[in-house]
């Protein structure tokens, strides 16, 4: 039997890895991937808490998170494509001016 706190520790570790990725990487695609890692970490704790409480609400919220993640990925990658067309770069530091 695995206690709930073990799942929460795994979730916290995954979230920390995702946060570190957002701060450390200088590639827009890798930053978006790190955001996906963070969303998955939260999903894991939702499902673990739902199992702990004996309800399906945790799993249902996970579906909504997945839907939002899909929408975020679609819009985010469209933005990345549009940015890459104007600057030929994926480095966030290349996009410092509001208008060009």
């Amino acid at each position: 039997m695995i206690p709930l706190s073990h799942y929460l520790v795994v979730s916290a570790l995954l979230f920390a890895v995702g946060t570190a990725g957002v701060f450390l990487r200088k590639n827009l695609i890798t930053i978006l991937l790190s955001v996906e890692i963070m969303l998955n970490a939260v999903n894991l704790s939702f499902v673990a808490f739902g199992r702990f409480n004996g309800t399906v609400d945790g799993q249902i919220i996970t579906f909504f998170v997945m839907t939002v993640a899909a929408a975020e990925a679609a819009v985010g990658l469209a933005l990345v494509i549009a940015l890459f067309r104007t600057r030929e770069s994926l480095n966030p530091d290349a996009f410092t001016s509001l208008k060009w």
Binding site: A20, K26, L33, E36, N43, A48, A73, A74, L90
Partner: protein, 177 residues
Amino acid sequence: MPETLLFYVLSGLAVGASALVIGQRNPMYSVLLLIVSFAALAGLYITLDAPFVAMAQMIIYAGAIMVLFLFVVMLLNAPQEDAAEWDRTHPLRRPGVARIGIVLAVLLVAELGWALAKVASLEGAVGGNADGAAIASVREMGRVLFTQYSFAFEATSVLILVAMIGAVVLARREGDA
């Protein structure tokens, strides 16, 4: 205890693959490693008696979203990050910022350790039980989803429509009709 061993193997795989995702300079390898991490997470969902979420994780995340990422990585043929340029220009390399960051990180870890030490009431077993067959049934999940959460479900369809239109508008070339 096979399920305990399974939990540790899957957790290690998920965290390790995620750490490798942010350690890669080539986004292609990052995307492929993230699929490994998502597969391990799907295994963890199975140990939590959530087989439907596990399958959705594989089909939607690993199948659809990651293929979208892979498609964009190949489409852009993006240059890899330059390590020397990173060392020179990254804001975290500035000494003052790095010092504040270290203090905040140590504070966060201490707080997290303190909080986890307090959660004696959360020690109830959640993984690997056999008595959870009733709550995990897909039938019950569908009933709750289409009654209690029906408004959120309908709102989600509007969200997806907006995201689709937004993606088409944003990725369109200037001057296209």
